[in-house]
Symmetry: C2
Subunit: 448 residues, 2 copies
């Protein structure tokens, strides 16, 4: 390569990778940022895309747009297959890339705790594609309920189970309950969407385990007020297309969403470095890989303890790590030793439905409407690089006033949706006449 | 069916079908509207979704939302396989539906003039899925150009050919030219997007054949000023993944978009009625199918001559036909004979890039900025039933001021994009090192 400046390769355009790239914007280096998506994703709002409240483009910004003015950065849309730490190069899907410094910020993916066969029946929520898949399944469940004559079968279409009681699970369950109770309330004629069940299943003893106890209790009460059935100590032992077994009980549910486990990007395994049980790299205090000071790992892909507790896998931690790794690169260029990383906890928050939330900001704890406003404020502030925070805010206001969720689009053909049903074949013999309700009976059907 | 009111089945939730359903809102009938999409699509703005200017949800509104308050209407998300006119019933993908009156408004699909094998290499633009496919291909072409070292191969990635010089082709070509010249201008480091070629290929002697000659000339001049190469009399005889043959000349182009031919929905063929060459039903003057007064066909699916000219396949014509068919249903219920349909031409318009358009409004002909404002005004007015015209307007203003196209998202994995390339296998041997430009050479590469 015709170059004298050191080459810093960053893998991943999430919170950690972008923070690192930006922190190096004035450093005497060439940066190549590799991602297999062309966009940075504001993951904390992904559940809103999955429940038709926001558009993908509202929470995903093209990485090229973010780095447009950073002349020392080049972006490559490519898939990294493995890291060759000995040769200091990456093997991509079609090419190779040599580096002087490497910052890995590839994040995490779903983990089904050894049950990879659940992935197909219980999608998780990590990418725009995941969110579209969940949106299609949820909206199709209501469509299928409208077309189903058998009450028992219809009930399984109207039952939504969310596995995992962390922030994502809590937010998904709250949004689903609102979708059924409010947004879709008057959209159907042959069944009542308000009679839908939303279950939130958590294997542990509490929701939101990272939050203080009073906030956890508050969140649970608010979810139950929205109509969510919260089940604690309900470990999932089986999931099929027809439902799932949780805490020993079988629950018929056509829609199961996975918000339980995460595992680090599989790229970590190619590093030849020690990993924890979730596949994260056990980094040194300066975020480097043992034995390879030129390789640093940040964000959800890194495992680091601080004061006896793991640094949490949240966006602020990833951004802090990204900036710290960049600083250590700059120090290395000047011949200085690396500094250890320290995580500054700024608090955590979660939202429950459209106007309630919990926020743990250290000394300040907010619940209800105030918690929600804090959540909204912080999330809008951090929508950095997005085409218009004002547009997103307007959509929230609009949705708040009208209960409308404008992004209720199914963009796959009916055949594909039906295939997802995978109903046993004998059930679909000849087309049979559909028993449409008489006009007067519509209201009866809805209230019965 | 437990019902006394006549059952009106409408197939298709486009402009024609929705107009018919709304016109029957106070009629003593039960309405079932069947569509295989769950949304109404504002097709005139679909090219904006394909070129990353608007979100799908900006131009697609859930049909259930539109019909929410119309208590006599039920919506079914299903695929209609055929019409059994003798038995007065529809065969759907999973069920059957008997009707007393049928209004078919299934619109049109692409026609490749007998070359169905072109569909895979030259996608057309009719649905949200089509628009996403085109957006992915266009954005990926720029990404592939960034990764290509061979100048001749890079040139084919930077060449975009649009086949068909009607309004869709003109609008697509103009938007592509702007994307390359303005929006993406500073997004790449290894090539200059402004050097991209956009070709608009029309087999006939003029662009926009339905417009008056002075407007056609104006549109052509404006396109050429945007950098679009307009080729008239350039009939396409071959399309592959590497390019196409038009007017006898081979043009290397990795991205070919089809805006040339349309054919009526294949459902027309199951009617046992006379069809024209494009597969449209030759309806009687009252829009009914010969021999079946209870079956009416509206919109792009119907062929009707008026004063020696065909009624055009545009949204206003479809809406007028839908309302007319509904009126004839109401007349039939009262024992009155049907009335013949008359199309009222309100004019036609097309837009060329971001601030120019042509509008033929009968006596009033507008070009340039005024033509564009007329186009913008009329299209926003007719975004009926959409969650927020104000939001869409704000996005237009934002895009106008900044040249930004916020919806530049690729939501399929790199592997899928690569597969689309279908480069001959010998070309992809071992991964080879990517020759990244030295920082100083970036500007040289961009300007050379």
């Amino acid at each position: 390569m015709s170059e004298d400046r050191p080459h810093v390769v960053i893998v991943g355009g999430g919170f950690g990778g972008l923070a690192a790239a930006r922190a190096l914007r004035r450093a005497p280096v060439r940066i190549t940022l590799v991602d297999r998506q062309n966009h940075h994703l504001f993951q904390p709002l992904l559940y809103q895309v999955a429940t038709a409240g926001l558009n993908p483009a509202d929470i995903a910004a093209p990485i090229r747009g973010i780095l447009r003015r950073q002349k020392n950065a080049l972006m490559l849309l490519a898939d990294v297959r493995r890291v060759d730490v000995a040769a200091r190069r990456l093997v991509l899907d079609r090419t190779e890339l040599a580096y002087d410094h490497l910052i890995l910020a590839c994040g995490a993916t779903h983990s089904y705790f050894g049950h990879d066969e659940w992935a197909e029946v219980a999608p998780g929520l990590k990418t725009i594609t995941d969110a579209a898949e969940i949106r299609h399944r949820v909206l199709w469940a209501f469509e299928a309920a409208e077309q189903e004559d058998d009450p028992a079968r219809r009930a399984t279409w109207q039952t939504f189970a969310v596995v995992g009681g962390g922030p994502t699970g809590v937010e998904l369950a709250g949004a689903l309950a609102e979708l059924a109770r409010h947004t879709l309330r008057k959209d159907f004629r042959r069944f009542d969407p308000r009679a839908s069940r939303v279950l939130l299943l958590e294997a542990g003893p509490a929701l939101l385990p990272a939050f203080p106890e009073d906030l956890r209790d508050d969140a649970r009460r608010r979810l139950e007020r929205l109509g969510v059935e919260v089940r604690l100590g309900a470990a999932v032992s089986d999931i099929t297309r027809e439902g799932l077994r949780a805490g020993g009980e079988w629950i018929g549910a056509r829609t199961v969403l996975w918000a339980a486990g995460v595992a680090a990007s599989p790229l970590a395994r190619t590093l030849d470095a020690p990993l924890d049980r979730a596949g994260r790299v056990l980094v040194r205090p300066d975020l480097s890989v043992p034995g390879h000071p030129e390789v640093r790992v940040v964000g959800d892909m890194a495992a680091l303890e601080q004061d006896g507790k793991p640094v949490p896998g949240v966006a602020p931690a990833a951004m802090q790590m990204g900036r710290h790794a960049a600083m250590n690169v700059r120090r290395a260029l000047r011949g200085l030793p690396p500094l250890p990383f320290r995580y500054k906890d700024k608090g955590s928050m979660a939202t429950i439905g459209r106007a309630a939330g919990v926020a743990d900001l250290g000394r300040l704890r907010l619940t209800g409407y105030l918690g929600w406003l804090a959540w909204l404020f912080v999330h809008l502030i951090f929508l950095i690089g997005f085409r218009s925070r004002v547009l997103v805010l307007l959509q929230w206001v609009w949705a708040y006033v009208t209960y409308e969720r404008g992004a209720r689009l199914i963009t796959v053909p009916v055949e594909a949706l039906r295939r997802g049903e995978a109903r046993p074949e004998p059930d679909v013999p000849e087309p049979r006449p559909l028993d449409l309700p008489a006009e007067g009976s519509i209201e009866r059907a809805r209230t019965s």
